[in-house]
């Protein structure tokens, strides 16, 4: 696998749209061709070489191209958008819309990722070792087509409204999440190992959410179904007692919401409905 390395030449002050940083576009191009690729900085169009120092070379096809981004990319948006194969490694922070509409391949971030991580993702894998922002695996604003397949793994915490209008695939958050995780969810799985700030699963119509941590309350439009001694999600088995809620009845939904019994003693009053 050929490796190409991009390093920022300076600190970026304004947002940069770099939809060209994907194995699909870089593969099969010479270094001088790559340097000429257009990116938008603020309102102005410039070339990739104006902003980044580029080394190495790319493979002939996306699947043997590895892109290594070294440095702070938190102002750089749309990295890996619509990529179909290959690999992107970010050694530092990544900006908004990382892996948007991604169709395959792998993205690894050894730092934090911005919001809209893997929005409208069709397939592929994303792994973030730091924290991620809001709207992970969600749909575009106003649309109803969220993530369809693939896996997003965040080892840190995530923001609000993760898995908005999600239709399939898996989101795993090792840390905590903000409010409205799995809002409008229609399918797929979300595993949250940390705590939730609440309102989890609002308007969900299908799919599965597992919360191993604390949540202040469950929405009143959910009904309790049963107590489960264990839960299987994303290929692993979690041996712990869970409350199973069904909802969101406000949207005639039939989603499954598993909430840890041990971490949520204040939900004990639901047990009298069983």
């Amino acid at each position: 696998m050929e490796i190409i390395i991009l390093k920022p030449k300076r600190e970026f002050k304004v947002p940069i749209f770099a939809e060209c940083i994907t194995p699909d576009i870089l593969a099969g191009k010479t270094l001088s061709e790559i340097e000429k690729l257009p990116v938008i900085e603020g309102g102005k169009e410039t070339n990739l070489c104006e902003l980044f120092q580029i080394e190495g070379k790319t493979g002939s096809s996306p699947n043997d191209t590895k892109i290594k981004l070294v440095g702070d990319f938190s102002k750089v948006r749309c990295i890996g958008s619509e990529m179909t194969d290959g690999e992107i490694i970010v050694e530092g922070n990544a900006g908004l819309r990382l892996g948007e509409k991604m169709r395959g391949g792998r993205i690894t971030v050894h730092g934090n990722a911005g919001s809209w991580l893997g929005t409208m993702m069709v397939n592929g894998e994303i792994e973030v070792f730091g924290d991620a922002g809001h709207y992970i695996g969600s749909s575009y604003r106003g649309a109803r087509e969220g993530m369809r397949s693939g896996t997003i793994k965040v080892h840190g915490s995530a923001g609000s409204e993760i898995g908005n209008f999600m239709r399939g695939g898996t989101i795993i958050i090792d840390g905590c999440v903000d409010i409205f995780a799995g809002i409008h969810m229609q399918g797929g799985e979300i595993l949250i190992r940390g705590d939730s700030a609440g309102r989890i699963g609002a308007f969900m119509r299908g799919g599965k959410i597992v919360l191993c941590g604390y949540t202040p309350s469950v929405l009143p439009s959910f009904t309790i179904e049963e107590l489960r001694p264990k839960v299987k999600i994303a290929g692993e088995r979690i041996e712990e007692t869970f409350y199973l809620f069904i909802g969101d009845h406000a949207d005639e939904g039939n989603g499954k919401l598993f909430i840890s019994k041990d971490r949520n003693p204040h939900l004990k009053h639901y047990e009298r409905f069983l």
Binding site: Y140, G142, A143
Partner: protein, 565 residues
């Protein structure tokens, strides 16, 4: 002032003057078409092998106003897929089904359209509508205030006070700088205020002793009394429901005796009013019945309301209909009640060829256009954005001109859908002359626009030139060429300025807002002043603050009319 223009050797289609594909020159001076131009400072356009037509006139397209704006807010996902960067002559903007105001203007002129009518303006929100129309560049425009459910109109008409109602309507049109009387689901919107809807034109409207039939007839009489340039512009009751073709025919028929040999009613986006059947499972086309009625009667004009298979945003003042659509699709929905005047609703919608109902709808629009013999009675429209965005008109034109083009679309449909319509058996194809009528001359005539829609001496120099030669091209076979030519005008001339060249905007001309100023007698004016007190009870706005001053319009074009009251 602009240069004089000479358009040489074009093949001219000018139906209002009876010119059918003659090779001739057109001269333009000071923004008006003249007999001939002479002198040095003349710009010559060589139009040999090209079609020259009057600028297009769109009789019904929702391009501005509060509901369009709410649609824009509702649909960010619609904008992201269609972004236009700025050019030296144009501003940037976004498009698709609810384009931004500037993009709307540019896209119209690129197709060779120069006049667009914005229907359904809630009178209370006229100020906002005119602000948006001011920002819609190049094209001329006008807007129709919604008067079919105004409490004042209902009260006057229920007491049979036609003259007083006429005085109120005249004041309202002047106050809101409107152009024609628009009725949307007359009576139904007031009923929607109580959560219901009317189901036929003889249902009672709650709290008003009146039926839709009386509203339609009353406003038709008012229209005659005020001598307005256009007829009443009606969106029928029961729109978008199976079996509603009978409602549409009854609506047309109820004003037959008021016509006096003239036109009396325009039924807009008639496709949505031509469904047969008892429910969605048995829904079929009722276009042949409507077409038969229109063929036999001269007091009616309609526009198609053609459906395009795409993702669009439906928006009408018909609140109950939009609620039904929201229940049907489960899509997001905006509902709005405008005080004492009207309602409105917005729901995103996707038309799919595989859906039997949508496929039948597609067929109905074309059936109407092809079964109605006279193109002077049926005009091209998609009820933008309800049936589809307006920049798909070239597709509609290609379907009208080519049976082969229709067949290619029909191949994508299910056989069960095609059994419910007569479209597969229709082989009529429009000629360029008929297209010129259905897209320009016909609407201009129906709207009573003088000096528009034709190329005679004295007409405003709104001209569209399309790079297609009718002598070498067979539209029925080369429908793709037709579509391309009509979507990218070779030249568009607006008021004597070249604004489009080879499908690109290269100039600017100030589009005017047309409005009607009906002169009424002092006695009638007294009636209006007495309304001030009632106004205080009904409205959140003071009577004195309600009218929009003329200088509020960026470029005003006042059309004075003398009335019979």
């Amino acid at each position: 002032m602009s240069k004089a223009l000479l358009i040489k050797n074009g093949i001219v289609y000018d139906p209002l003057n009876g010119i059918d594909g003659e090779r001739m020159d057109i001269a333009v001076k000071n923004g008006v078409i003249v007999e001939d131009v002479s002198g040095k400072d003349i710009e010559v356009i060589d139009a040999s092998g090209m079609i020259v037509m009057p600028g297009g006139v769109d009789i019904h397209a929702h391009i501005a106003g509060s509901e369009v704006d709410a649609g824009r807010l509702l649909r960010p996902e619609d904008h992201i897929k269609d972004v236009e960067p700025k050019t030296p002559y144009t501003r940037s903007g976004v498009g698709y089904s609810v384009p931004s105001t500037w993009t709307t203007g540019y896209r119209y002129v690129r197709m060779g359209y120069t006049t667009v009518m914005n229907p359904s303006m809630p009178p209370l929100e006229a100020r906002h509508t005119h602000e948006e129309l001011n920002d819609t560049p190049i094209i001329d425009k006008a807007t129709y205030p919604l008067l079919g459910d105004s409490w004042f109109v209902l009260e006057f008409l229920s007491r049979d006070m036609i003259e007083e109602c006429a005085a109120f309507v005249a004041w309202m049109i002047k106050a809101t700088k409107g152009y024609a009387i628009k009725l949307v689901n007359p009576g139904g919107l007031e009923t929607w205020g109580f959560g219901g809807n009317v189901e036929s034109i003889d249902d009672q409207v709650p709290y008003f002793n009146i039926t839709p039939r009386e509203i339609i007839r009353g406003l038709c009489k008012v229209n005659k009394l005020l001598n307005l340039p256009h007829t009443i512009h009606v969106h029928t009751n029961n729109l978008g429901k199976p079996g509603n073709y009978l409602t549409a025919i009854r609506t047309m028929d109820c004003v037959k005796d008021l016509a006096d040999g003239e036109r009396a009613i325009h039924v807009t986006h008639c496709q949505f009013s031509s469904f047969k059947g008892v429910d969605w499972a048995t829904m079929e086309s009722g276009a042949d019945a409507i077409a038969r009625y229109v063929n036999m009667h001269d007091h009616v004009t309609i526009d198609m309301g053609q459906v395009i298979f795409t993702d669009t945003t439906t928006m009408t003042a018909d609140g109950p209909f939009q609620y039904g659509l929201h229940l049907l699709t489960g899509n997001k929905w905006v509902n709005h009640d405008v005080e004492t005047e009207t309602s409105s609703g917005i729901v995103p919608f996707r038309y799919r060829p595989k859906s039997i109902v949508h496929a039948v709808q597609w067929c109905i629009g074309l059936e109407l256009a092809l079964l109605i013999k006279e193109p002077w009675k049926v005009f091209v429209s998609t009820d933008h954005p309800n049936g589809g965005p307006f920049f798909k008109y070239p597709d509609v034109i290609s379907w009208l001109m080519s049976e082969k083009a229709r067949k290619t679309v029909m191949k994508k449909m299910r056989k069960a859908a095609l059994k419910r319509t007569t479209l597969p058996s229709i082989d009529r194809e429009y000629t360029f002359y008929e297209v010129a009528i259905a897209t320009r001359a016909g609407p201009a005539k129906a709207l009573g626009l003088e000096n528009k829609g034709h190329l005679g001496v004295g007409a405003i120099a709104d001209i569209a030139i399309y790079a297609i030669n009718p002598e070498n091209v067979n539209p029925s076979r080369d429908y793709k060429l037709i579509r391309n030519a009509f979507s990218r005008a070779a030249y568009t001339i607006k008021s004597g300025e070249i604004v489009v060249k080879d499908g690109k905007v290269v100039g600017y001309a100030q589009g005017k807002t047309y409005w009607v100023d009906v002169e009424i007698s002092d006695e009638a004016m007294e009636t209006i002043k007495m309304l001030g007190e009632v106004f205080k009870q009904y409205y959140t706005v003071e009577f004195e603050n309600y009218p929009i001053p003329e200088d509020y319009l960026a470029a005003s074009h006042r059309i004075p009319r003398k009335s019979g009251i």
